[in-house]
């Protein structure tokens, strides 16, 4: 019994220590932002690996999620003779939930894990130490650009996801299932509020971008510098990011859509 309690306590202490360490790291990362502004090249390079390389999976997923939403929504809505609301349903679910959340989950799997692996490998091969001994702060030089790029890329990717989702839904709803084209757009415009739906979705994805890249760079920087350690850190990044996104989504939804 006491052993169980002790183990529980040890787990808590470890969790709190990790949280504290990651907070300190975050502060150091944010301190470097002003320096980054003087070297926009670094940011562009990271936007490439975090953003551009993630576009394909985001675009394809967005398109298919929109198409499936439209298909499923049509079967249910047509039972109530409310097919005209199909566009609203597709757009609302994409903008409010699926766009930010699915993008963040895919981002964690594609970009987050790659970030962790890259930073972890740089640590394992002493590149981070090497930078430090060259009087270059690895946190500012390596982590800050990656963090800022992830923070910027997430809402952009989410916007792409939602836009392509709406188009995919339109293709299925209007093109294949015969919902009227005018009704689709007019109903959507009448019922989707830019502030309530669109802005809140963007805020969500900003929060997710912050948290996902934070987790990714922390796991990479904090990984055990061996190949086993880096692969464990990569797995942890995906698991922690996904859980954080889903948990935060619930909290944010509760706060936003009263």
């Amino acid at each position: 019994m006491t052993e169980v309690l002790a183990r529980l306590g040890a787990g808590w202490i470890l969790a709190v220590r990790h949280l504290g360490r990651s907070l300190l790291l975050l502060l150091r990362i944010l301190e470097g932002v002003d320096e980054l502004l003087l070297r926009p090249r670094l940011l562009v390079e990271q936007l490439f690996s975090v953003g551009v390389l993630t576009v394909l999976i985001i675009a394809v997923s967005g398109l298919f999620v929109g198409m499936v939403l439209s298909l499923q929504g049509y079967y249910i809505l047509s039972q109530f003779a409310a097919e005209s609301a199909l566009g609203v349903m597709v757009a609302a679910s994409l903008l409010r939930e699926l766009g930010p959340v699915v993008t963040a989950l895919l981002f964690a799997g594609r970009a987050g894990s790659a970030l962790t692996a890259e930073i972890g490998l740089m640590k394992a091969t002493e590149q981070l130490s090497g930078l430090e001994m060259m009087a270059v702060d690895p946190v500012r030089r390596v982590l800050t650009p990656r963090f800022v790029a992830g923070f910027i890329a997430m809402p952009l990717l989410a916007a792409l996801f939602s836009a392509l989702g709406v188009l995919g839904g339109w293709f299925v709803g209007v093109g294949l299932l015969g919902v009227d084209d005018g009704t689709w757009w007019v109903q959507m415009q009448a019922r989707i509020d830019w502030n309530e739906d669109l802005s809140n979705g963007v805020i969500k994805s900003l929060v997710f971008g912050f948290v996902c890249t934070w987790i990714a760079v922390f796991q990479g920087y904090n990984s055990v510098p061996t190949s086993a350690g880096v692969s464990r850190a990569t797995t942890r990044t995906v698991v922690h990011s996904s859980l954080a996104v889903l948990g935060l989504d619930f909290v944010l939804t509760a706060l936003m859509f009263k």
């Binding site: 903008l95 916007a159 836009a163 989707i192 509020d193 830019w194």
Partner: protein
């Protein structure tokens, strides 16, 4: 690693495409494109019961949207709802004896304000009040009246 020029072009394309997507979502999907809040004038209408009318509900005339509900208040002396309607300024020839009623879109849809034009030569302008209004139909009352009417019929 690609050459730095390609990287720059691809990142530029990515950001541009994403901003375009955001613009599309704002203008084509949400109501930002149809919203013109600046160019309106406000008129007041009083209703005995507004049902479930909400702020931002459309105000239509012959089915065409001519404005939006901008605020809903309550007059404690007359026990009436005070609804302010923001009418787009381009509709400047609505007679001031126009009739406002609260209608429902579809059987269970949202409620909106419908205007029926009167015959006056003077038009609505900033601050005017619509005198003739009809309250929202509340489903329970309608059903209640229907049953009451049936009962009366059977008595006779």
């Amino acid at each position: 690693m690609k050459t730095s020029k390609t990287v720059e072009i691809l990142v530029g394309a990515f950001v541009a495409a994403a901003l375009l997507a955001l613009f599309f979502l704002a203008m084509k999907v949400s109501n930002l494109g149809t919203l013109d809040t600046s160019d309106t004038f406000e008129v007041v209408a009083r209703f005995d019961n507004i049902g479930s009318l909400k702020v931002k509900a459309p105000v239509t005339m012959a089915g065409v949207e001519v404005g939006r509900v901008s605020s809903i208040g309550f007059d404690q002396e007359r026990y009436q709802a005070v609804v302010k309607l923001a009418i787009y300024r381009r509709f400047d020839r609505i007679p001031d004896d126009t009739f406002a009623k609260i209608l429902t879109a579809g059987l269970l849809g949202e409620q909106y304000v419908g205007l029926d034009p009167g015959g006056s030569d003077t038009f609505l302008e900033e601050g005017s009040e619509i005198e003739i209004t009809q309250s929202a139909m509340v489903l329970e009352e309608v059903i209640g009246q229907f049953i009451f009417g049936k009962a009366k019929e059977e008595k006779q």
